[in-house]
């Protein structure tokens, strides 16, 4: 898991969204797929497609050690009229400063309390948490499951 690469992905998606780009490509890794799936579930993205560096796949192409370097996830960005649905996507944990919270701290953050100088969950915002088994879930799901984990990024 690389927070540096995740930071690049976050800024790329945010830049594309602010620039009204219809499709954005990010490198295909497990972490990126998990975060993008989370964004899709929360309604920030309209589609996720597999593809290569040039375009989304028309037929299913498996990822192999030979082609994994060129495999990409093509994300359909959402707009409400001319306004981007996703206006902000930022890392919370930094490579040099990781925030690992327990279930109680996560609950406090979700209900609107500031925890360790992290601003609370705002309405219409989503925070993604990496829980123990390397799954990435939204903070509400983590609270419902009574799980703690590392805060990754927040989208609004």
């Amino acid at each position: 898991m690389s927070l540096v690469n995740l930071a690049h992905v976050c800024s790329h998606i945010q830049n594309c969204s602010r620039n009204r780009v219809p499709l954005a490509a990010v490198s295909m890794t497990r972490l990126h797929l998990q975060v993008c799936a989370g964004l899709y579930k929360e309604g920030f993205l309209s589609s996720i497609q597999r593809g290569d560096a040039n375009k989304p796949d028309e037929t299913f192409i498996p990822a192999t050690p030979q082609n994994i370097a060129t495999r990409k996830l093509w994300l359909g960005l959402k707009y409400d009229g001319f306004n981007p649905v996703l206006s902000k996507l930022r890392l919370i944990s930094k490579p040099s400063h990781k925030f690992v919270l327990d279930e109680y701290q996560l609950r406090d953050l979700a209900v609107g309390k500031e925890v360790r100088k992290i601003s609370p969950l705002a309405p219409g915002e989503a925070i993604f948490v990496k829980i123990n088994n390397d799954d990435v879930v939204e903070i509400r799901e983590a609270v419902a499951k009574r799980l703690g984990g590392q805060l990754l990024c927040r989208a609004s």
Partner: protein, 326 residues
């Protein structure tokens, strides 16, 4: 902001639009309210001061509005003055007009609502049609999902066969690289060995080298031709044709080919010899393998065969000549 009729370009008789109900807005709200009550909202996450379920907005019917605003006065007066009677008649007319207009508005609203409902139903059918694809049920049910990708390795692992091919490829690459370096080293050793024969190690050799340099006419090492080139010049000088040529003429004859580096490279490329013009690694390898002997033997055999053929041809010609004479 201008006032009164200035707002309408000083045109009298034009009235502003009355503040009517926006039926389209109300209809949209009712549609969203239908879906807003679906599902489950965790009370834990409902913000303070807001309701989990949308608060329904009540709208009054025309009769209710009339009853509230244009009620008929219940007061019964025994004596009514003509002024009061006129006022009462005017009030009745106004009340009638208002109630008529409200009832008419309600009818219009109902019609518009009906139209919007029909439009919404049509759109619902159209959207359902969009979701219909030509894919078979089997294709839809076996499409990979995001979870299916996350539950197994993201990259397909190598098969046993692919692993074996890769291993063989790596091994061959390693061997090729090692051979290349070994050959390079052998070439360098051979070069050093051959150059070592020219190294000055005795006093006699030193004197000879000094004499040679003096004969060449320059003491500047950077400008002088190499000892290899001097050797060529000397060998050329022994040749009868160029015996009387000067050094400058000889260099001119070779068209500048006697410059440092070029001749050794050419010889290396064409003959396979080393920089010093001695047999190269390939030639030595051939000798060691016995290929050179075999080649020499083949050449000799070919020469002998050619001589025999020439002899036979000459003999036949002689026989012909003798037979013609006789």
């Amino acid at each position: 902001m201008v006032k009164r009729i200035a707002k309408y370009g000083f045109k009298s008789g034009l009235l502003p639009k009355s503040r009517l109900r926006n039926i389209a807005k109300e209809f949209a709200r009712a549609e969203t309210d239908k879906t807003a009550t679906q599902g489950y909202a965790d009370p834990l996450f409902v913000p303070r001061g807001s309701a989990a379920e949308p608060i329904q907005k009540t709208t009054k019917t025309a009769d209710e509005i009339i009853n509230d605003s244009a009620k008929v006065s219940q007061k019964q007066l025994s004596h009514i003055s003509p002024e009061q009677k006129l006022k009462s008649e005017k009030a009745t007319i106004r009340r009638t007009y208002l109630s008529d207009s409200l009832r008419l508005q309600e009818l219009n609203d109902k019609e518009e609502w009906k139209k919007l409902d029909e439009m919404a139903k049509k759109e619902k059918v159209w959207r359902a049609g969009l979701l219909k694809t030509e894919d078979s049920e089997a294709t839809k049910l076996t499409l990979p999902t995001i979870n299916s990708f996350l539950n197994k390795p993201l990259v397909e692992p190598y098969t046993e066969e692919q692993r074996a091919i890769l291993k063989a490829k790596r091994e061959s690459n390693r061997i090729a690289l090692e051979t290349k370096f070994a050959e390079q080293r052998a070439r360098q050793y051979l070069d050093l060995y051959q150059r070592a024969s020219k190294f000055i190690v005795t006093e006699e050799q030193l004197e000879e080298a000094i004499e040679r340099a003096v004969m060449n006419g320059t003491s500047d090492s950077s400008k002088s031709t190499s000892f290899y080139n001097v050797d060529i010049l000397k060998s050329e000088r022994n040749n009868d044709q160029v015996k009387n040529f000067s050094n400058a003429q000889l260099v001119k004859m070779h068209g500048g080919m006697l410059t440092d580096g070029l001749v050794p490279k050419l010889t290396q490329e064409l003959v396979g010899s080393t920089d010093v013009g001695r047999p190269g690694l390939a030639e030595i390898r051939d000798v060691l393998n016995g290929n050179a002997d075999e080649y020499t033997k083949k050449v000799n055999d070919f020469k002998l065969k050619k001589i025999e053929e020439d002899k036979a041809a000459a003999k036949s010609v002689l026989d012909d000549v003798v037979s013609n004479k006789s």
